[in-house]
Structures are given as C-alpha cells and as structure tokens.
C-alpha cells in the first residue's frame, strides 16, 4: 500500500461505511449520517465509486441473499490499510494546521 494520493471525501466515507456490510442505499445513508447531511452521494457517482473500489480490491461484493437482487459490499484488508494511511495523512494535516494557526494545541 504505497498509495499516498489523498482519498476524496466520497471514497473515504464509502470505505468507512463498509466496515460493516451494507448495500448501496445503506452506504448513502451512512455517509450522510457521518457528515451530518453534508456528503450526499448520488446514485451514479456511488455506482462508479463502488466499481473503482472493487477493481482496486479495497472492497468486495458479498454473495446476494436468496431472492434478493440487492448487492452488499464489505471493506477488505487492503481497503482498511488505505483508510489507515488516509487517517495518518489527515492527522498530519490537522496537526500542522493547528500548530501554524495557533488553533487547539495537539
């Protein structure tokens, strides 16, 4: 996991919401809940993001329940590593930001 490219908010919250298995609509609700309604994922965007994350191996689709067409997704070990990398990066940003602006001391 040597990817040090910042995750977009959408990718970050999709990954976070998939620490427990969820289907598409559940991910939208969770991202909205995490961000107090600020991050609203539209269906086309979410669908594209889910495909990208699956291609990267950061999330996986779970087998559908019998009689249901709703696909559930879950984060993989590689996905967790990406979230942890991102978290470290964000902490660094916040730490430096607060040090320079004299915000709350870390």
């Amino acid at each position: 996991m040597n990817e040090h490219i910042a995750l977009t908010e959408a990718f970050y919250y999709i990954l976070l919401s998939l620490y427990e298995p969820l289907h598409g609509y559940g991910i939208m609700q969770k991202a909205e809940e995490f961000s107090d309604g600020r991050v609203r994922l539209a269906a086309g965007t979410l669908y594209g993001a889910l495909n990208t994350l699956q291609d990267k191996g950061w999330i996986e689709a779970l087998p559908c329940a019998p009689g249901s067409r709703k696909k559930e997704y879950r984060i993989t070990a590689a996905g967790r590593a990406a979230v942890e990398n991102e978290l470290a990066r964000l902490k660094e940003l916040v730490k430096n930001g607060e040090q320079v602006t004299g915000g709350n001391p870390v």
Binding site: T8, H23, L41, A42, A43, G44, Y47, K71
Partner: protein, 169 residues
C-alpha cells in the same frame, strides 16, 4: 387522465429537458413514457416526482438494478438515453454528486454529437457534386452542422466546469 406532448430538445440542451419535466411534475403531470419527440404524461400529485436524464455508455443491467435499489425508477428510454424519476424528498435529485461524474457524462454527450458530425460530413461533401444526391447531401451537411454546433456548445460548458476542479481536489 393522460396527455401526449410532442416536443423537440437538442441533446446539448438535455438539462432544459429535465427542467421541463420537473416543471410538468410541479403542474401535476408525471412522465410515464418517452420516445422520439414524444412524451406521455399521466395526472398525479403536483411535485410528487423529480426527473433526470442520463446517456448510458453501455447496457449495464446491474446499473439499472442499482438505481432501483436507491429509489430511482426508469420511466422511459430513447436509444441510450434513460428517463429517471425519484419521489421528491426535499433534496435536489442528481445522478452525479461529483464533478468528475458530471464531466464524464458530458464527454459522452459530446461524443454523441461528434459521431453525428463525423458520419454526415463526408457523404455530405462527397455527394454534393452528384445532381441525383444533392438533396440528401444537404441533409447530411445540415446534420453535420447540428452535430458540430452541439459539440462546441458542450465543449465550452465542459471547459468552464472543469476549470472549477483544480481548486477543489
């Protein structure tokens, strides 16, 4: 009660088409079928649904199933354009919440205009000299001009939108 309306929208004005469908919805007319220049509405609750239009790049049944799962219904289809509706929930109805998605969708519409231009421009000029095919040739050239017009309209819209991207990564 149902009503059928014939109306023309150019592909580069698809957002105007969406605005019109939402306007019809506010007046209590909900779209139930769409085709070439024809729209069928049925009377329902004013503002009950919001509408969107999307140009699909490929047939992907999984995508349509995914839309349904998130409360979006496909009400009509015209070639690769799908007409979508969603129950109004006080929030704007968008297909893409990211700028990249909006830009990629515009690229698809631009490509469509480009194809219309490309397939018409050659036969248009080639047949111009042939007196039997001259009328057809003018039709080809007119279609090529329409395609080119749409392409450049979308190109400038896309460029203005993309300029916003750099600061907001």
């Amino acid at each position: 009660m149902k009503k059928i309306i014939h109306r023309t929208f150019f592909v580069w004005n698809f957002e105007k088409e969406i605005d019109w469908l939402n306007d019809m919805s506010r007046q209590g007319w909900q779209l139930c079928r769409a085709g070439f220049f024809v729209y069928e509405f049925e009377q329902g609750e004013p503002g009950e649904y919001q509408y969107q239009l999307q140009l699909l790049r490929k047939a992907d049944p999984d995508y349509l199933a995914f839309l349904e799962e998130t409360g979006i219904q496909v009400v009509g289809r015209c070639l690769n354009w799908i007409y979508l509706k969603k129950k109004s929930d006080g929030q704007p109805f968008e297909i893409f919440s990211d700028l990249e998605g909006v830009l990629r969708h515009l690229d698809g519409v631009m490509a469509l205009c480009g194809v219309v231009m490309a397939v018409n421009v050659l036969p248009g000029f080639a047949n111009l000299a042939n007196s039997h095919l001259q009328q057809l040739s003018w039709l080809n050239l007119a279609l090529a001009a329409v395609g080119a017009f749409g392409f450049f309209k979308l190109y400038f819209r896309r460029r203005a939108l993309a300029a916003r991207k750099d600061l907001h990564r």
